[in-house]
Every structure is written in structure tokens, then in C-alpha cells.
Symmetry: D2
Subunit: 114 residues, 4 copies
């Protein structure tokens, strides 16, 4: 794969993939939001019985690591497809949010827990 890893390129490939398979009919924003939340829950499922410490070591397990990567890919895929059908620029939305959060949660001189 020589194509550069760029969000816009991946979003386009996902859109072409759906069009080629005539799946656009299923891709209402409502359905894609549901699918996104289902994939996020599949990620949670991997961690649900682990201690915080065990959860930090999941990538050392050769069976679990690819499952985690796979669920990350599924979440990102549905997020980008959702953004595609609604014309949302996910990176711009995140950049704007970070700006707002930097004002909303100023860094304290002596950091405290939230």
C-alpha cells in the first residue's frame, strides 16, 4: 500500500467502497451512529473484566492486540462514514473542540485531579 495515510483519502475509499456495494441505502446518519456505538462497545467488551493494570498490557497479548486494532479501525470507519454523509470535517471539529477545552480547563499552577 503506497497510498499516503490521510483521513480524507481513507474517508473517500470508505465512501467508494459503500457505493460499489450499493450499501449507501443503509448509511443513514442514524444507522451509522448506531453502528459506531456498537463498535465502540465491542472495544469496551475486550476490557470489561480487566483490572486497570491488565488493561494497560493488552497489546502484549498476541491474540488480543489485533482484536483491539480491528475495533479501532471499525470505530474510525463508521465515524468517517457518518461524517461523509453529513458533510462534517472530523479533524476541524476536533481542532475546534481542543481550542474550546483549552479555555474551559485552564492549566493550574499546581495540577490537581479533576
Amino acid at each position: 500500500m503506497t497510498e499516503r495515510l490521510d483521513v480524507a483519502v481513507l474517508q473517500r475509499r470508505l465512501a467508494d467502497f459503500a457505493t460499489a456495494r450499493d450499501w449507501e441505502q443503509y448509511h443513514t446518519p442514524k444507522n451509522l451512529a448506531a453502528a459506531l456505538s456498537v463498535e465502540a462497545s465491542e472495544l469496551v467488551e475486550i476490557f470489561q473484566w480487566l483490572t486497570p493494570e491488565e488493561s494497560a498490557r493488552v497489546m502484549r497479548d498476541p491474540d488480543t492486540a489485533p482484536r483491539v486494532r480491528d475495533e479501532v479501525a471499525d470505530v474510525l470507519a463508521y465515524l468517517l462514514q457518518f461524517c461523509e454523509v453529513l458533510g462534517i470535517d472530523a479533524l476541524a471539529a476536533l481542532a475546534a473542540k481542543i481550542e474550546r477545552n483549552e479555555s474551559r480547563f485552564p492549566v493550574r499552577e499546581v495540577p490537581e485531579s479533576r
Copy 2:
């Protein structure tokens, strides 16, 4: 904001943001996966009582559009923070998944529903 909108740059800003506020202690993979799924559900909540047709028009509503963008930003923020703590390259994971799906779901001559 003159900084280029790039996933790696945004992921770094999120990591610096958490470090500056001493929030890393909360950012176990288990907690971040849960937070991601909570944000994905907040996106679902916007659509839960809408018809498929209404769901396609949410960005025309001046009250709803910024909420949708905001939830997209939250989902992406937690996904990137999750990837940061586990050393996962989200775009590479998605590119690999698209490759696999292109083999797994070949385009039919006459497209049919899945």
C-alpha cells in the same frame, strides 16, 4: 489556528493537554474505551427518536448541527487518546481493515443488498 489539520498533530495536542492537567492517571485503556462508548452513545441520543429521513437533515437545524459536530469531536478525541496510550496507529489500522474488507466483500457484477 494555523496548525495543519493532521491526525498525528491533534493526537499530540490531546496528549499534551492531558499531561498538563495531570489527567494521565485516569487515562487507562479501559477508561478511555468506556469514555469513547459514552460519547458514541451521546451521538446516538441525538438520533434516537428521528425517522431515517429526519436523521438525514440534522445539519440543517442550527441547534442540532453544532451538537453533532461536538459529539464527533468527542468520539475522535477519545479514540485518539486510546490509540496514544496503547501505541496504535489508527489510520494504519483502518487502511489494513479496508484492504481486508475489499477481499472479504468483493463487488458483485449486479450489486445486491447485503
Copy 3:
């Protein structure tokens, strides 16, 4: 099964089941809430690509009907286990909520959409 179908009885059987298998160590409220949300998402997954009309007919499909019943059972099981470890009376909580909602959403003379 001659035992009467009663929430308190089922909650007790679930608690005994966990104790007998030494699973209580995993049953923190945090983990049980996560497991509950994972099961709720498995229910959503069954419906995610269906139209509203198709979703109303799922119990007529002999493959889907037992899956739906099974996910309902999983959601209820984790909800009751969650209530067990925190000493919450789920039915009393629901009755109190219904009372509050009856005040909060009075019936209009001419019913309108919310």
C-alpha cells in the same frame, strides 16, 4: 422450572451463580455497568441496518427471535447483578421514576408529539 418468575428470585439465583464460580471479584459496579452497556449494544446490533418497519417484525424470523430474547436476558441479568452489588431495588427505582414522569409529562387534552 417450577420456581415462580419473580425479579427478586432471579436476582438471587444470579448472585448465587456468581458466588459459586468465584466471579464476584469481577463484579465491581463499574465492570457490571460496562457489561450491561455491551449487552445493550448487542441488542442494537440486531437492528442497526433495519428499517423501522423491518425492526417491528424481528420476532417473526426464527433465527433472529431467539437472539433478541437472549440479549434481553443478558441486559436484565447484568442490570440485576449491578443492583445486587449496590443494594438497589430496581423495581422501586422504576416505580419512583414513573411517578416523577407522570408529573413531568402531564397528558395533554389533545395529545401532541414530544
Copy 4:
């Protein structure tokens, strides 16, 4: 409230509540499954940054305890409304599941972790 706390009675009150407000039009199985998962996530949200130990103490906090009970009520309300529209007996489904799990996960002589 003198009415006995019984699942069937509460399920009936919820159904009457929806009918009186003309909300049945929104209560497709698909929408109710989504609403159930949204409420389950609101329960997760309460716990998302807590340690396992903190999560075990939530009911001692006078601000958090009623929020937890309220989310339990919301989850149960949508579960029963989902069962109502599809004609599912939630308690029978759970009883059948417990029977199956008792065969599937036999108690070991010396209990071990799963």
C-alpha cells in the same frame, strides 16, 4: 403508592403512559433498543473515571446515589417497553438463560477464575 411492585404491572403502566402521550409512534423496537443503550451508557458515564474501589462506594455519595438509581430506572423502563412492543417475557427469557448458563459454566470442585 400502594400498587404491588411487579414487573408486569410496571410494564403495563409504562405502556399506558406512552399511549396517553401518543408516543407509541416513536417506540419501534429499533428506537427502543437505541434508547436502552443510551441509558446504559449514562450509567457507565457515572463510573468512567472511577477506580474499581471508588465504584464500589458510589451509593454512599448523596449526589451520586440518586443518579445511579435514576439510570437503573431508565434502563429497566426501556427494556420493558422494548419487551412490550415485541411481546417478549423478560423474566422468562432471563430464567431460560440462567438454566442454559448453569449447564454451560458448571461449578468446578475447586473454583477458578474464568
